[in-house]
């Protein structure tokens, strides 16, 4: 390693060219990056929920619906001009590419099926715009009487109408060069254009809208916010070091590691998932550390050995630092690689590429940083120099150089003198944290990812409070034989299931199955008597009704609820909320009621739909979190154990990390942050940051102890050489850790200004992770070392 460092130091320009060149080549791949926002991507391909959902899509088509809501508070939508704009909107939206023309549903497209004395009339609700009060009244009555449409295309109270837009399957969209997001944009654009200056309010919502926009907006927002974070880091670094080099070196390391990781990701053909948007963020938080520690050491040496040559200073710095740099990087990388044990590709990729970035940062730190230092003149921050020239040289320099070092020296002295008390205090803090952490629970809601009060959240709320719901669950039913779903007993079970799901769950706004159509037909064919809206007792009659219906319907009119052989059926449940916690009961009810109604009939059933996918996804991520915390900690423990060749070292590295995790959870509890996919990842990020701190501290302490331990000098008012070592460690490495924490925390606090709650949360949680790790490393770890006096630090002498 010494040889390698000498080479780097002797050929600085070549090294810089090589590293910059390599990084540029890798980074050029980033143009190929694609974004993947589909929720289903989180769930492994072979998972039952994915299989069910794919099967549903294959048989019954994609259930993705965009809802356009037209709200008129004053007097409701049954007014001629409002109906007119609904009709215009419908006509325009139907013609948009990517929209299934025949499957756009609104009061302007649907037919009323009415019974008359001699038969049945099927005609549009709105053949022409109603032009007097009586016609408007009659239209309202017709919709109200048709229970499939009441609450579906018009709100039950008549204050709003919906245009429900079905998208073509993803594969077909892709062939047309479209995706959900583009179709949503087109719909939104059409709505905006046609409705400017009108009295009504217009909203666009639906699961595909949320799904399509979330990833986009997060990435877009990050693109805006990250330069701000970067700038803040730069400013803080400048005020910390008061030199260009102090700014440039850490930022170059971070930038290169981000470019390296994302470039390699693009090269490997891995798309950007919502999780991997966190990779640059994580690398910024962690990558700064290597450079700051190198710089800290360099400045320390510059101050201690003012007469040394530039080459010697750089070499000495690297000589002393390459071990902790490699050790921290490898351990952190291994920690992130433990993500691979989770069964979800987006999480695996987050861990994998965070690890890649960290190793890349390590590589850059060990090559580019010394090379750059070689090309710069020897200098330390003027502030420190001034103090030295003021006569405070010698061994005491470090402890007293600067206010921060002074305070940290005092902290070290205090901890050194009050080991037991420190341990008691931190134990107290941990007990308190455990209490605070106990209120953390799993929850995740799609809309919660958007800013409260933003148009998308508002639209979601309006649509879901006026209509049957924009979130969907599906129950797939499968009878063994064709025409199973002509059987009255089977249809009655389906109907009973629907009724019980609706009455038992307030968030189930409505359900639709083939039964709704059959009931309607039976009523219409029996003089439109309301009591005849029931399932006939004859399978033949049902078959004949459906034939009758086919005279005005398209061949695939019922394709969403029953397959063409009537062997399989799909019960569509519309939900007004897309949130994890309320779905516990939905899932439970679906399972018990399906078993109750369909098992006795020998009909197999399975649960699908985007609601179920979200539920399973959240459940998997959070189930994995428990396992992941353990795996990450264990991986780090093993890595530290093996690399430092000491079991105790593993334990000592792990302990502050555990404390940091507990503090982090406590922070989440106190800020009422629930565990969703974002929050769950930052626990692991906290672990990995904590490891860095702990390793740097232990290394520095060991080297300080070995130095002062040999020649106790009684500095800093304490006789114990271990305490002296601690004081010196905190004054130097402690300061670096503090700088690192402060800089990164302040930088990430900028994210609180973001409009996207996930990014705000990320800013908060990264900061919390830094703070937790900082506190744990500077208090718990020294106290533990002093109390236990492990051999890997103190050698054989005690």
């Amino acid at each position: 390693m010494t040889r390698f460092m000498e080479m780097v130091v002797d050929w600085p320009k070549l090294v810089i060219m090589l590293v910059v060149g390599l990084t540029m080549v890798i980074a050029s791949q980033m143009a190929h990056l694609k974004i993947e926002t589909d929720t289903a991507a989180f769930i492994p391909a072979g998972h039952q929920a994915t299989l069910n959902n794919d099967r549903m899509k294959e048989i019954f088509g994609t259930p993705d619906l965009i809802w356009v809501g037209v709200v008129r508070e004053q007097g409701g939508i049954y007014q001629r001009d409002t109906l007119d704009i609904i009709r215009q909107l419908t006509d325009h939206i139907r013609l948009l590419p990517g929209v299934v023309d025949q499957d756009v549903v609104s009061i302007a497209t649907e037919d009323n099926i009415r019974g008359t004395a001699d038969g049945m009339e099927v005609e549009p609700f709105m053949d022409s715009l109603p032009d007097d009060a009586a016609a408007l009244q009659s239209l309202q009555q017709q919709i109200h009487d048709f229970d499939i449409y009441d609450g579906f295309i018009v709100a039950k109270d008549g204050s709003a109408a919906a245009i429900i837009v079905k998208l073509e399957p993803a594969a077909l969209l892709a062939r047309r060069g479209l995706d959900k997001f583009k179709v949503y944009e087109a719909v939104k654009h059409t709505v905006d254009e046609l409705t400017a200056g009108r009295d009504e309010q217009f909203y666009v919502a639906g699961k595909p809208v949320l799904e399509a926009t979330l990833g986009m907006y997060i990435a877009e927002d990050l693109g805006l916010m990250m330069p701000l974070v970067f700038l803040t880091l730069a400013i803080l670094l400048f005020f910390t070091y008061r030199s260009l080099r102090g700014v440039v070196i850490p930022l170059v390391v971070v930038t290169f590691s981000v470019l390296g990781a994302m470039g390699i990701m693009a090269f490997a053909g891995v798309p950007i998932y919502p999780t991997t948007t966190m990779v640059p963020v994580t690398l910024m938080a962690i990558g700064v550390a290597d450079a700051i520690h190198l710089l800290g050491k360099y400045y320390e040496l510059v101050l201690l050995k003012p007469d040394h040559e530039r080459r010697d200073l750089v070499l000495d710095t690297m000589q002393e630092m390459w071990r902790p740099v490699v050790l921290t990087s490898v351990t952190t990388a291994i920690g992130f690689l433990s993500f691979l044990s989770m069964g979800m590709v987006p999480l695996q990729m987050m861990g994998l590429f965070a690890a890649v970035g960290i190793i890349y940062a390590m590589m850059v730190s060990l090559t580019l940083v010394p090379a750059m230092l070689m090309l710069m003149t020897v200098a330390a921050p003027r502030m420190l120099k001034t103090r030295i020239s003021a006569g405070q040289g010698g061994a005491q320099t470090i402890q007293t150089a600067g206010f921060v070092s002074c305070q940290l020296s005092r902290l070290g002295l205090w901890v050194g003198s009050h080991v037991t008390l420190t341990l008691f205090l931190t134990s107290g803090l941990i007990f308190f944290s455990a209490w605070a952490a106990s209120s953390v629970y799993v929850d995740d809601a799609y809309v919660a990812n958007f800013k409260a009060g933003s148009p998308i959240v508002k639209a979601d709320h309006v649509i879901n409070s006026h209509f049957i719901g924009s979130y969907q669950y599906n129950l797939l039913l499968e009878g063994g034989k064709p025409e199973t779903f002509y059987r009255p007993d089977v249809l009655k079970a389906v109907w009973a299931f629907q009724k019980e799901m609706e009455s038992g769950n307030a968030i189930v706004g409505g359900t639709i199955s083939i039964v709704d159509y059959i009931r309607r037909m039976n009523r219409v064919m029996n003089e439109n008597r309301p009591e005849m809206a029931r399932i006939p007792d004859s399978a033949n009659l049902i078959a004949q009704y459906l034939l009758l219906y086919s005279f005005s319907g398209a061949p695939d009119d019922f394709a969403e609820v029953v397959d063409s052989e009537y062997r399989m059926a799909n019960i569509r449940l519309f939900l007004t909320r897309g949130q994890y916690v309320p779905y516990h009961k939905i899932e439970h009810d679906l399972n018990t009621l399906a078993a109750k109604y369909f098992d006795p009939l020998g009909i197999t059933w399975s649960i699908a739909g985007n609601g179920h996918i979200s539920y399973v996804q959240t459940q998997m991520i959070t189930d994995n979190l428990r396992f992941n915390i353990i795996a990450t900690v264990l991986a780090i423990f093993l890595a530290a154990w093996l690399m430092m060749r000491s079991f105790a070292a593993g334990v000592f590295v792990m302990t502050p990390v555990l404390a940091a995790v507990i503090f982090n959870f406590a922070f989440m509890g106190l800020t009422d942050t629930q565990i969703g996919w974002g929050a769950s990842m930052f626990t692991s990020v906290a672990i990995c940051i904590g490891v860095d701190y702990a390793i740097h501290l232990i290394y520095k302490f060991r080297s300080e102890f070995r130095r002062t331990g040999v020649a106790p000098s009684g500095v800093a008012g304490h006789a114990d050489p271990a305490v002296q070592a601690l004081v010196r460690t905190l004054a130097t490495t402690g300061k670096t850790i503090l700088f690192n924490a402060v800089v990164v925390i302040a930088g990430f606090m900028v994210l609180l200004a973001s409009v996207m709650p996930p990014n705000q949360q990320m800013g908060l949680l990264v900061s919390a992770a830094m703070l937790s790790s900082f506190i744990a490393t500077l208090t718990v770890l020294p106290a533990l070392i002093l109390a236990a006096r492990p051999r890997f630090v103190f050698g054989d002498k005690t």
Binding site: D101, D118, G119, N540
Partner: protein, 270 residues
Amino acid sequence: MNTQKIALIVFALAIITGMTSVLSYGEALTGDQIMQRVDNRDDGDDLTQKIYQKLIDRRGGVRERFIIAFRKDYGKDSKSISYFLKPANIRDTALLTYDYDGTARDDDQWLYLPALKKVRRISSSDRGDYFMGTDFTFEDIKQTPELEDYNWTLTGSEVVDGHDCWVVQGVPKTDDLKKNLGYSKTVNYIRKDIDLPIRIDYWDRKGQELKHFYATEVKQIQGIWTATKMLMENIQTGHKTEMEFSDQQYNTGLSDRKFSERMLKRGYRK
């Protein structure tokens, strides 16, 4: 006036007539004329036939129906009655249709449902509505489209399945018609020898290709050229419909009484 003068005048007229026809050479048939020929094609005054419908969904799921159908022309109008023979659960269901020429008057339709033992009138369908769950719309299932609703353009000739065909493009005249019919364009391949369309391509309102129609078997029955097998394929949904016609009997002099509500209820008897 002497005979010679008369002869001269007749001669002059003959020359003029002759030159007129000489000078009007070469304008081949127009799209309109071709479609008119298709419309004028002899399809008998009445017809009895068996129809086998096979509906095939995207995944290969199949539904089959057997129907026996009677049709009788009344000038440009016609009446027809169809009895469903299979599947069992719709056996004896029967459909009576009075089909009026032009679009001024809606067609009348009645359906008899044996399970309900009642005749039900079916409100007239839009021309773009699909017919009995097949891939044919009511417009497609008719012998020829309403000619005056389209602008017909002859775009050339092509050989399809070994037959020389005219290629006639039809574009509905107005946006309203496009919406009603569900088409923005059709391209018809019409056999020059028998004036029968053997392939039709349809484009939807957005200008995306929608369906392909093929007359897969054409036979001469009692001197009348008849498509005996047809396929309509929706290339967007993957759904398709095959129809086979057999046991055709043209011009048997079906009685008017056959096309009544009473016969609808009585069901089909051999």
